[in-house]
């Protein structure tokens, strides 16, 4: 028996023994997923139990080193753990920007002190993070950002405005990009810094979106002070850290193109469109679109897997995250559009009677998905990155 199958048995036994009954089968329920934090309530108390049980075993952040609250698992072992969690259709114990973005970035770029200060709190879900990158005048052209940080003794004093800060109203800390030198090429005067959202001078206003939800905020900084030891990487060297983190973000957003524990497209189509006498989806165009979507998801999953296998075999990571971000989001959006077509008029519900809860969720999810190709660097920016960094096409 391979080491991996030994680990699978161990992981299975642990999941069976620790996952709350209530959460089993709830993977598709967004309320079951927890990002932790000081001010964010758990919708279900069981999500808190599940998170703490996982944190005790290092399984909330399985690949992180044990000293920072992880379990030191290899990528393959973590994949096995997640498969075992998925087998019972459970949510992962921990989600959020701490887990997927700032944590991995600190592991790569943080000092020993920074890692020790922040990582264990992420692992236990004590602190929730948000991201301060975009500004009203710095979207795709992120490096033109203007929020300033000026040194004052052992502190930086921050002034400016961030936008599209996901979950800022729920977050405890923010990782952000600030301008520390306005007199050099724009990428060279940016610093990556961490700020406690409870600091005086931080103001958050949620933005209402086309989906009716407000996952994003505007975040204002008026003379906000944060200690100089919260700078990650070099002062004025933040662009390098930012790009590394964007890589994690793209992988995380792009990850939604993969199948997983979601609505089955063929089942949905059989349900809404019906089947012909041979049991096939009773609309050749919908059937063709479902097939194409399933095949694209399969090919995309294989490509993520090939990339992972390559890393495991010692290949150097390249700018592939742009490819995954581009393709994963486009695929996810195509999938949402297709589910809309499959449900037809029943996909038009906003709230109230006459629509199933899943139909109402569908409408909102579709609207939400339109942001996929904008957030984390637009699809066009990803294609630019591939053209420049992978293909070497001239500027």
């Amino acid at each position: 028996m391979s080491d991996l199958s030994v680990f699978r048995e161990e992981a299975r036994a642990w999941v069976e023994g620790n996952a709350p009954e209530f959460l089993r089968g709830k993977a598709a329920d967004p309320n079951a997923w927890a990002a932790g934090g000081r001010k964010a309530p758990f919708v279900y108390p069981e999500s808190r139990d599940w998170l703490l049980a996982a944190a005790d075993r290092g399984f909330s952040v399985p690949t992180w080193p044990e000293e920072y609250g992880g379990a030191g698992l290899s990528r393959d072992e973590a994949a096995v753990l997640h498969e075992e969690i998925g087998r019972l259709a459970l949510p992962l114990p921990l989600t959020g920007f701490g887990y997927s973005m700032i944590g991995p970035t600190l592991l790569d770029h943080g000092t020993e002190g920074q890692k020790a200060e922040h990582l264990p709190k992420i692992a236990r879900g004590e602190i929730r993070w948000c991201q301060g990158y975009s500004e009203p005048n710095a979207g795709s052209d992120l490096a033109s950002l203007a929020t300033s940080a000026v040194r004052d003794g052992d502190f930086y004093v921050i002034n400016g405005q961030k936008i599209w800060t996901s979950g800022a109203d729920q977050a405890d800390w923010i990782f952000m990009l600030v301008r520390t030198n306005p007199d050099v090429k724009k990428q060279r005067g940016i610093t990556f810094i961490l700020v406690d959202m409870a600091s005086p001078g931080v103001e958050v206003r949620p933005i209402r979106l086309i989906s009716g939800a407000s996952p994003f905020c505007e975040t204002f900084f008026h003379d906000v002070r944060t200690p100089v030891h919260q700078v990650i990487g070099e002062v004025n060297g933040g662009w390098t850290v930012a790009k590394a983190l964007l890589g994690h973000e793209r992988t995380s957003i792009g990850g939604m193109g993969r199948g997983g524990a979601r609505t089955s497209l063929p089942d949905l189509a059989r349900d809404y469109v019906g089947v012909d006498e041979l049991g096939r989806i009773d609309d050749p165009t919908i059937r063709e679109r479902v097939t194409q979507c399933e095949m694209d998801a399969m090919s995309y999953g294989l490509t993520i897997r090939r990339h992972g296998d390559g890393l495991e075999a010692g290949h150097k990571p390249g700018p592939e995250s742009s490819m995954f971000k581009y393709y994963g989001t486009e695929l996810n959006m195509r999938r949402e559009e297709l589910m809309l077509s499959i449900r037809g008029p029943q996909a038009l519900g906003w709230e109230g009677e006459g629509f199933e809860p899943a139909e109402l969720t569908q409408t909102r999810n579709w609207l939400r998905s339109r942001a996929n190709s904008i957030e984390g660097g637009t699809s066009e920016i990803q294609l630019n990155i591939i053209a420049k960094r992978v293909l070497g096409l001239p500027d």
């Binding site: 063929p266 096939r280 989806i281 097939t291 095949m295 294989l302 393709y327 293909l391 096409l393 500027d395």
Partner: protein
């Protein structure tokens, strides 16, 4: 599934294959062979060298003198051949024809043919397609009548790849109607009543019409069971399909790289055309499609080698993906080359012509999407 990375020996094999193809002139050789117009359409000395390297025995068990390697290795050879448009009939003779013989043949047939196929002395060509077949393996009208101590075959096969100069044919013929009525026969090229006529295709490869007019064969010529041809044929077609996908990867990668080089060297309006975003984005999308194609080919090859339950799904996924990607890339390659790409003198058109032959080999994208849907039950 085995990891989707190449092992050190596989990397070595891929490199050797690439070197062999370039050593003999790469795409220039394909052009020269086309211009010479010989019906054989390939270079016997390259075929002999492939035999010397053991490649004609790649998929066959060591007990038959083969190398006992799998599809994961086979696609490395076909990819290298695709890159240089090498016209040797490797897929049809070795993977498809030889593969059918090794799978369905009895001990006597294997002993008579396999060692000679592997050392390059003899060559087989599967003759299955008919004018009305399209992609249906059972759409066969060629008939086999029981006749004394054997069978009498009559009908016409078309686009028999590698048919010119073949020493023997695997012929599918109806011994009855219906799916259970297809029988495979191993027929020597010299048989009375068998006539081979060269065909000219857009890709200038060796292709032939095989006419059978009451060709008499003994009962020992039946490959596998009477009426049991469809099953081994399906298996061999899946392997040949993935080998074709390897070639498609080679063709699309080479056409793409040549196009990127062109974007970096051609100037208009005083700047390199590769600076135009309208072209950059299309190039980036092609890159992604090629990456996805590569993953599907590696996965399909491994699925066949490992006899996975989802092997047929993986094969159809790979062929559909590669077909779409290859047509996208070769059409875009020509467009991005502009007028010069329309000239016969420029090589990019040769890639586009070969692309269409590969697209229609063993089913196009639409065919394989339908098969995928059928296998998945929707």
């Amino acid at each position: 599934m085995a990891p989707l990375v190449l092992t050190a020996p596989q990397n070595m094999l891929a490199r050797t294959a690439g070197e062999l193809v370039s050593k003999h002139g790469g795409v220039d050789r394909q052009r020269r062979l086309r211009d010479e117009g010989a019906d054989l359409g390939y270079s016997p000395e390259v075929w002999a060298e492939m035999a010397d390297l053991g490649w004609l025995g790649i998929p066959f068990a060591e007990e038959h003198g083969g190398l006992g390697m799998g599809m994961a290795e086979t696609v490395l050879i076909t990819e290298a051949m695709g890159r240089g448009l090498a016209p040797e009939p490797f897929v049809s003779a070795v993977v498809f024809g030889g593969g059918l013989l090794a799978d369905a043949g009895n001990a006597e047939q294997r002993a008579a043919w396999l060692p000679r196929l592997i050392d390059g002395e003899k060559r087989l060509a599967p003759a299955l397609l008919e004018a009305g077949s399209r992609y249906g393996l059972d759409k066969v009208e060629t008939g086999a009548q029981a006749n004394g101590d054997g069978w009498s075959l009559s009908g016409e096969k078309v686009q028999v790849v590698g048919g010119v100069g073949a020493d023997g044919f695997v012929i599918g013929a109806r011994t009855e109607g219906g799916a259970d009525g297809l029988t495979l026969f191993l027929v020597p090229a010299a048989a009375d009543g068998l006539k081979v006529v060269a065909q000219q295709r857009v890709d200038s490869r060796n292709s032939a019409i095989v006419r059978l007019d009451g060709v008499h064969v003994a009962t020992g010529a039946v490959l596998g069971d009477v009426g049991g041809g469809l099953e081994p044929l399906g298996r061999a077609v899946d392997r040949a399909t993935v080998a074709v996908c390897g070639e498609m990867l080679g063709v699309m990668t080479e056409a793409f790289e040549r196009t990127i080089e062109y974007l970096k060297s051609r100037s208009q309006f005083g700047v390199l055309i590769g600076t135009f975003q309208a072209l950059k984005h299309r190039a980036a999308k092609m890159f992604i499609e090629i990456e996805l194609s590569r993953s599907t080919v590696m996965a399909a090859a491994r699925a066949l080698d490992e006899n996975s339950d989802d092997a047929e799904l993986q094969v159809s996924n790979a062929k559909a993906r590669c077909s779409d990607a290859l047509i996208l890339v070769t059409n875009e390659a020509l467009q991005m080359h502009g007028g010069i790409g329309m000239t016969d003198e420029h090589d990019i058109g040769l890639f586009m012509k070969r692309a269409r032959a590969l697209e229609f080999a063993f089913g196009d994208a639409a065919f394989h999407r339908q098969r995928f849907a059928r296998l998945r039950g929707f």
